[in-house]
Each structure stands twice: as structure tokens, then as C-alpha cells.
Amino acid sequence: MPDGFDKDVYPVPPRRTPAVEKQTGLPNPAEILIKLFQYTVDVPVTTFRDWVERQHERNRFFYYQQKFRRVPDLTECKLGDHLCNYEAEMQWRRDHKVDQEIVKVIKERLGACQQREGNSYLQNCDKEMNQFRQVSKAYQSRYGDLGAYGSAQKCLMKQKHRMIAERKEATAAED
């Protein structure tokens, strides 16, 4: 987050530092304290961190994001095919984890927006608010209330009931 963040998603607010109009000859105590903090804490810590980074530069190694192949869904598995069931279940679990992380990211964006806007967050954070509402509603309708032992099969059954309820609503709306 300190360096490599997306400037579109987390926009940097405009600076509001006022122009200095000094009217006294006395030194500004705030500046003195800032300088004091800088030289006693900031500079040693930064030099140590830079030294540590230089040690890290000497042998760099990388880690990657694992890409999993898509396997047939639970809907495409035959009835007694337990292997297909297992692979579909594992894929569902990975997708569930990914969706949890997505919700966390959207929540973090909303928090960042609130922090950025300060007291006027209610009217300025509309986009993030709507996005969060949409995403959390979708997550709730798909994964919510499955419980601790939620599985791909239970999620599928939940979807089935949801579709039945929608169809019933649609026919009731027609009549």
C-alpha cells in the first residue's frame, strides 16, 4: 500500500497546505519539533531500512500467484462420479475464497474513501458505497447462510431454491 497502489481506485486528495505568511521573527516550534523527530527517529530508521533493502537486493527471488485450471462444475458431473464431485468441490472452495477476498477489497476501498473524505463522506463516497452494497448483496445471496459446513452441493441447492422463488415471483407478478 505505501508505494504501488492504483491511483484511480485510491485517488490522492489535493494538498491543502497553506502558503506560509510569517509575521514574527520567532522560530516556529512545530517546525523545530518536526526537525527533531526527523533527525532522531526518521533518519536512523530510514538508513537502517535502506541498508536492509540493499542486503535483500543481493539475492532476489520471486513468488507467483497460482493459476488453477477450470474443471467441470457440479452441474456437469454425472450422478455417481465422485472424482468429478471432488474436483468441483475443490474448485468451489477456491472460488469461495476468492469471493471473500473480493468483498474485503471492496470494503477496504469504502474505508479508504471515508478516511479520505473526512466529514463529507456521506455524499462523496456514493460510488464506493453502491459498489459495496451490490457486492455484499451478491455475496449474501450466493454464499450467505450456508453455515460452517457449506459445500458446493449446498450452494447449488440454494441457487436452485433462489431460482424457484424468482420464477414463482415472476408468475405471481404476471397474474
Partner: protein, 186 residues
């Protein structure tokens, strides 16, 4: 009383002046305890500093704490030193895109060097776990399938009676000797 204190001061002064003189230390009750007036230990019965403090034994508590610190630091300090060395001199991995035509090893998906080492040397790759689970599922499903077919076959053979099960072998009919009953007058 005042006369006694004056006498004591005079005797002390005299004793200080001539400490080796025999006459001063013999039978001088008043001077015997006062070689030097300024370094005398004065004990109060009420508000002074305690000379002899009564408190319960803290030997066992101090021994316990000492041993606790000793045994914790015995492995704690080497572990802390090793982890600090690894974090400072080896450092964490950086996130990168997977290069073309390269399949990373299973430990190259972790960030911290110690996690990578554990994944490389101590743990099985997750693909192996997956395959093991799939093998178990395959064996169990085959067993269930076989048991189900056996049950069906048994039911059908018992019902219809035309299969190899549920019938007992009888002897060949050509071996039967009809000679005792072949003629009516035997």
C-alpha cells in the same frame, strides 16, 4: 537527667581524646557504647528505617522465575537470532508474473523464506495431497460400485435361479442306475 546527659557527653569527649587509656574503658557503662558519637546506630521503635526486616521467603519464587527465564531464553535467543538473520539478510520474495513456459515449483507460491523452506523440505506438494485424496475416493467408489453390483446379482440370481449362485450341483443323470427298478419283478 540533664546532669546525666552532660556527664555522658563529657565522658564521651574524654574517651575520644584518649581511647587507649585503660581507665576510660573500664566500668564506664556510659561511654562503652559510644566510640564516636556521629557514627552511632540509633534505632527507633516507631518511624525509623527497619534494621531487621521480617518477610516470607522469596527463595522459591525467585528460583522459579530464574529457571523460567533461563529455559525460555535457552531456545528463544537462538530462534530470535536466526529469524532476525533470515529477515535481514535473505528477505522476503517479491510478487512477479509467471514467466512464459515456466511452471513454478510448489514452494515458489509462498512469500517468506522460512515458509518456502518448510514447503520445499517438510511438506508434500499440494498436488500430491489432491491426487492422494482422489485415489482414495476412486478406491472407495470402486468398492461401493462392486458391492452394489454384487447385491443386485445376488438378488436376481436368487429370484430367477438361473445363475451360478443359489443352486446346488447335482450328479449327472446318466450315472443313475435304473437297474433295480427296470423290471417289475426284481
Amino acid at each position: 537527667m540533664v546532669g546525666m546527659s552532660v556527664l555522658r557527653v563529657a565522658a564521651g569527649f574524654a574517651a575520644r581524646l584518649n581511647p587507649l587509656k585503660q581507665g576510660f574503658s573500664n566500668g564506664r557503662l556510659l561511654t562503652r557504647t559510644i566510640p564516636k558519637t556521629e557514627s552511632a546506630a540509633v534505632r527507633y521503635g516507631s518511624h525509623g528505617k527497619q534494621m531487621f526486616v521480617f518477610k516470607p521467603s522469596d527463595y522459591y519464587d525467585r528460583r522459579f522465575l530464574h529457571l523460567l527465564k533461563y529455559y525460555i531464553l535457552l531456545t528463544g535467543i537462538p530462534v530470535a537470532a536466526i529469524i532476525t538473520y533470515i529477515n535481514v539478510f535473505i528477505g522476503e520474495a517479491e510478487l512477479a508474473e509467471i514467466p512464459e513456459n515456466y511452471v513454478p515449483e510448489h514452494w515458489e507460491y509462498y512469500k517468506h523464506p522460512i515458509t518456502r523452506w518448510i514447503a520445499r523440505n517438510l511438506y508434500d506438494p499440494p498436488e500430491k495431497n489432491y491426487e492422494k485424496m482422489m485415489a482414495l475416493i476412486e478406491i472407495e467408489s470402486e468398492k461401493a460400485e462392486m458391492r452394489r453390483t454384487q447385491m443386485d446379482v445376488r438378488k436376481l440370481m436368487r429370484e430367477k435361479g438361473d445363475g451360478p449362485w443359489y443352486h446346488y450341483e447335482t450328479m449327472d443323470k446318466s450315472l443313475i442306475d435304473y437297474s433295480p427298478k427296470s423290471t417289475p419283478d426284481n
